[in-house]
């Protein structure tokens, strides 16, 4: 057993920190946390960071060298996730690098690989994934968006929701029903759709915490060539399940939790009203700190096992479950410590920590829903992990 990183991993972390310090405005993470960043500034920093990452070959860090990546190991990828989350780095490869690229590498044709991968690794194309629908959330396989063959084309109609980054994406990887008669899992294909294709409409969602980049995407008789299917027609569902090799440590939310608790600890040192009259607050901060350390271990176990060639599915569900519930506890701790002023929204004169925790408190409700709900994670741990019978 060894609770340290290798010298190469440490070197990478150091180099990455130096890079982030140089690329991000000095007070970026603070201002971003406080909601003090305009949309234009956000985009500007996003573009600049994405370009700089591409120049360094870091944008597609995990990809094999032949596809424009550096073939980074799993632990190194998790370090990347940890550090970029801690600094609240905007930009980076998003879904294109994290899931679409690997899917094209594994299942795509050579022509698709040549057409899409270099541009994605260079930050010239951005992707979104088009998967969940209003009536197909936890039960994704129930999706109804259709891609019907018409000669050399698919004609797509339907609507996807909870799409991240759709407004800036050049392409989407769509999961759609290509066989209406087959069992739900057996009739789904993944298809590349240019986001500027005729009939694609992106509608931003109005969310509780005012997120900027979640949308609904509607398809009205959108035509794409049949060559855009990735992998085999009707095998999309099974291809989507082969995510086990991807970075799935879940360490990003642990890292964010750490930064947020550090903000509270610092505020509590400065402003004794936060803790002096409330002895339980000290223990609560200590609890969160301990939980963060638990989280780091649970998360890093995932890449550790992947590096050994294992498939840590159950471990990844555990990390996801633990991290998203920790996110909510951290938000609650912020609200608790900041007292009456915690309810004041961002920016106000009397909003402690500038009201950032009131937004965090709203945003955290999504932590146990997005990316698979906590109930689903528990089902997966119990049924797939522990082999308990389904009800």
């Amino acid at each position: 057993m060894e609770f340290t990183f290798t010298p190469e991993e440490e070197r990478f972390r150091h180099e990455l920190r130096t890079f982030l310090a140089a690329q991000l405005p000095a007070d970026w993470s603070e201002r971003d946390f406080l909601g003090d960043v305009s949309r234009d500034e956000q985009r500007g920093v996003d573009d600049a960071v994405t370009r700089a990452l591409a120049d360094k070959g870091w944008l597609a860090l995990p990809w094999a060298k032949q596809f424009g990546g550096l073939g980074a190991g799993h632990v190194q990828q998790a370090i990347y996730t940890e550090e970029t989350a801690y600094t609240r780095m905007p930009g980076g490869g998003g879904a294109g690098v994290a899931s679409v690229g690997p899917s094209i590498q594994r299942f795509g044709t050579r022509a698709q690989q040549e057409q899409y991968l270099p541009r994605t690794a260079a930050g010239l194309d951005r992707w979104c994934t088009l998967t969940v629908e209003d009536d197909a959330g936890s039960d994704v396989a129930a999706m109804q968006t259709r891609a019907v063959r018409d000669g050399d084309e698919y004609v797509i109609s339907g609507a996807k929701t909870w799409v991240s980054g759709a407004e800036r994406a050049t392409y989407g990887l769509l999961a759609a029903r290509t066989d209406a008669k087959a069992a739900p899992q057996d009739g789904i294909s993944t298809i590349i759709v240019p986001m500027d294709a005729a009939g694609v409409t992106v509608r931003p969602l109005d969310t509780l915490a005012g997120e900027r980049d979640l949308s609904e995407v509607v398809f009205e008789d959108v035509r794409v060539p049949v060559q855009n299917v990735v992998g085999r027609e009707n095998a999309g569902w099974y291809q989507m399940q082969t995510a086990s090799d991807l970075e799935r440590s879940g360490v990003g939310v642990i890292s964010t939790a750490k930064a947020n608790i550090e903000r509270l600890v610092e505020a509590a040192r400065d402003d004794d009203s936060l803790i002096a009259r409330n002895p339980s607050a000290r223990y609560e901060l200590a609890d969160r700190w301990i939980e963060i350390q638990v989280g780091f271990n649970v998360s890093y176990r995932v890449p550790h096992l992947q590096a050994q060639g294992q498939q840590p599915d159950q471990e990844a569900y555990e990390a996801k479950l633990y991290g998203s519930e920790l996110t909510q506890r951290v938000a609650n701790t912020g609200m608790h410590l900041l007292g009456l002023a915690a309810q004041a929204g961002p920016g106000g004169r009397y909003a402690k920590l500038a009201g950032a925790f009131s937004r965090e408190y709203l945003r955290a409700t999504a932590a146990t829903v997005a990316g698979g709900t906590s109930e689903i994670q528990r089902n997966l741990i119990a049924q797939r992990g522990l082999g308990l019978p389904r009800d």
């Binding site: 039960d139 509780l208 409330n278 007292g339 309810q343 999504a366």
Partner: protein, 371 residues
Amino acid sequence: MDLGLNEQQELLKNAAREFLENECPESHVREMEEDERGYSPVLWGQMAEQGWQGLLIPEQYGGVGFDFLDLTVLLEEIGRALVPGPYMSTVLGGAVPIIEGGSEDQKKEFLPKIASGELIFTLALTEPSARFDEQGVQCAATVSGNDVTLNGTKLFVSDANVADYMVVAARTGKGVTLAIVAKDQPGVTVTSIQTIARDKQCEVVLKDAKGQLLGAEGAGWAILEPVIQKYTVAEAAYLVGLAQMDFEIAVDYAKERVQFGRPIGSFQAIQHKCADMVTDVDGSRFITYKAAWCIASGQPAADTQMAVNMAKAWTSESTRRVVAHGQQIHGGIGFTKDYKIQLFYRRQKRAELAFGDADHHRELVAQQLGI
């Protein structure tokens, strides 16, 4: 032992529910979030016609003369419908202090106009220190005869933007002193604070503001103690109604929403949440009724104080658990503004914090236990 409502309370509850379902639907709650005043004068007038503002006010001053337990029943319905506007501010923050500490002239002057819906009041108690205890009152007052001059800042004052008068807690050499202060005067500046509930909580800056003494100079805290007790229980009752409705919406949704070919309510993971929610709601209701009953029936002071602190300590946290489950049961849709469940989630936080969060009341419980 009888934990049920009496006939009059049942009538009040049913009438209030029916009225609010018609007059204060979800669309109204949303509209008032965007409204600068944050309340509808029409609804306010209708509430007055039914005697709600005057519920606690004795008949001789134009009120209905019901007791505090009756008010608790009504407040549960107000929480259920998330009624926007200055009802609690006016009744608990205006009528109650005047009933407790006002002169005969003040009662005659203000109470009938509160009962008729003519006047809106609020209580200006908390300051930037955000404390709910006697030490928290630092706003400066000087008294000359019946006149009070005030200087200081009051914070998180509900509905001050629309109030005609404020009951201000301030401090003279003799201790905490209350004053009734007209809002429309040069010495009073009111600014709304953006809050998670998108309600109307305000900063009130007093610069040589003029008011009239309410009770004797230095007697303010003694008058405020029963006011704070009642206001605290009122917030708990509001939370009970809010949580009850959140729970009902979530159970309905769990019955309707289908995933994996069956209603999500058929999954035990969801059933257990629903069961936890109703257990928390019921627990909250009866500990709140107990506190209200102590007040209404004049139980010994020590018992009443303990009951009030326990009620708010419990409901502050139990209802937070309820609304968190409400969100989770809704999945992604709960995170959109389109669906109504988030209205309850955001408003729970206001009432959780109002008149002391769970820690504040836990501390008082511990003190009363002698630890």
